[in-house]
């Protein structure tokens, strides 16, 4: 079961939603992830929950005027983005 990484804290700085990722390597270079408003809202909804496409699609349908098909696509790509950026953990 995939979850959001618990060590990442979502913050709003100015108009941006960001998370500072203290990279665990030996070199002191932290990464900063930026989320758009929808992704940030979804992040907050998903804290401590299982990250799965069906649930994300449901959240999107509740909040936005969007077809179920489009919501399902968006949910899939969001999970892929999160995974690629290393924001998920088992």
């Amino acid at each position: 079961m995939m979850k959001l990484r618990q060590d990442l804290v979502l913050r709003k700085v100015g108009d941006d939603y960001i998370m500072v990722d203290p990279s665990q390597g030996m070199v002191d270079l932290s990464k900063v992830h930026t989320l758009n408003e929808t992704a940030a809202w979804l992040w907050e909804q998903l804290v401590d929950k299982e990250v799965n496409a069906a649930y994300i699609a449901e959240l999107l349908c509740e909040r936005y005027e969007v077809s179920q098909e489009k919501a399902a696509q968006d949910a899939e790509s969001l999970i892929q983005e999160f995974e690629k950026a290393g924001l998920l953990e088992a």
């Binding site: 100015g14 960001i18 030996m26 002191d28």
Partner: protein, 304 residues
């Protein structure tokens, strides 16, 4: 150890950026001689517990296998002559030396509220090492009090407002401060390497001088309101670019001190920093080492 070999310890109190440090050192050692840059920061014992207690143990440095997991060997703020190790209930900071007898070691509680320094009091470099270890302690303890120790050269303008110039070593932070001193009236150097930024209760950002200032002896126990952070980059022209939101955070983050593998301390730092960058001006200055560069950053911060 036999009881009569334990030297009597004397407590010394210091106030840095309004945070109290207590040093317990053998009574025979003259701390003002060992730590001359700290003399202006001496304070009285306050009610309540100091933010950090640091005890000097004139003992052998424990052997290598006891140090724990190696965590970091370089830092933009701290240079490269040391190692950090993590143990279950402690952090170990080691100042390396090829001769084992000349190594210095500090063992700190995970929140750095208490540390023990191990080394030889007859080491000619004792003051330098103790000062540096105290900077490590202060940097981490401060995070829990909305303070961030940063790597910067700081100018105070009209004794009221501070500008912190950021950049990797060799970028020209000190040079840019000098240019302000020469070409902008009413300016003063507050600190040349390791000032502390503090987010006050009312949300105001302040910047403080410290006993640490790199190669420049500028140890001022005073503070001014922080007007802005300016990250410098050498360029064939002078140009200031204002930054907002995530870009402002990214501009300042590399100059901040936090042990990033300690989640609590790191989160405390990013919390404070995300609020700070909303309070003050943040920008990049591409610059030449000339008078025009100082005038460019001055007018970007004070005339717009």
């Amino acid at each position: 150890m036999e009881a009569n070999t334990t030297p009597e310890l004397t407590s010394h109190y210091y106030e840095i950026a309004d945070l109290q440090l207590e040093l317990r050192f053998p009574a025979r050692l003259n701390l003002n001689d060992i730590l001359p840059s700290f003399v202006g920061f001496r304070g009285e014992k306050r009610n309540g517990t100091p933010a950090a207690v640091v005890i000097f143990q004139e003992e052998e440095v424990p052997s290598e296998e006891e140090w724990g997991a190696l965590r970091s060997d370089i830092s933009l703020v701290w240079g490269d002559n040391f190692r950090f190790y993590e143990q279950e209930n402690a952090f170990v900071t080691l100042i390396k030396h090829t001769v084992k007898d000349k190594q210095w070691m500090m063992k700190s509680a995970k929140d750095f509220s208490e540390s023990r320094i191990y080394g030889k009091a007859d080491d000619a470099r004792m003051g330098e090492f103790v000062s540096w270890l105290l900077m490590v302690v202060f940097g981490q303890v401060g995070l829990q009090h909305r303070l961030i120790l940063i790597h910067a050269s700081v100018i105070a303008y009209q004794q009221r407002q501070g500008i912190a110039f950021l950049g990797k070593s060799g970028t020209g932070k000190s040079t840019h401060s000098r240019l302000w001193l020469q070409h902008i009236p009413n300016t003063e150097l507050l600190n040349d390497d390791n000032p502390v930024v503090r987010l006050e209760e009312d949300g105001k950002a302040m910047i403080y001088g410290t006993p640490w200032s790199g190669k420049t002896p500028c140890y001022k126990n005073k503070c001014v309101e922080l007007k802005g952070f300016v990250r410098l980059a050498q360029a064939p022209l002078n140009r200031f670019t204002r930054k907002k939101g995530v870009e402002s955070l990214v501009a300042v983050l590399p100059s901040c001190t936090a042990l990033r593998w300690n989640k609590d301390l790191f989160n405390a730092m990013t919390n404070t920093l995300s609020q700070l960058v909303e309070q003050v001006n943040v920008g990049y200055l591409e610059c030449l080492p000339d008078a025009e560069a100082a005038k460019t950053s001055y007018s970007a911060l004070f005339e717009e």
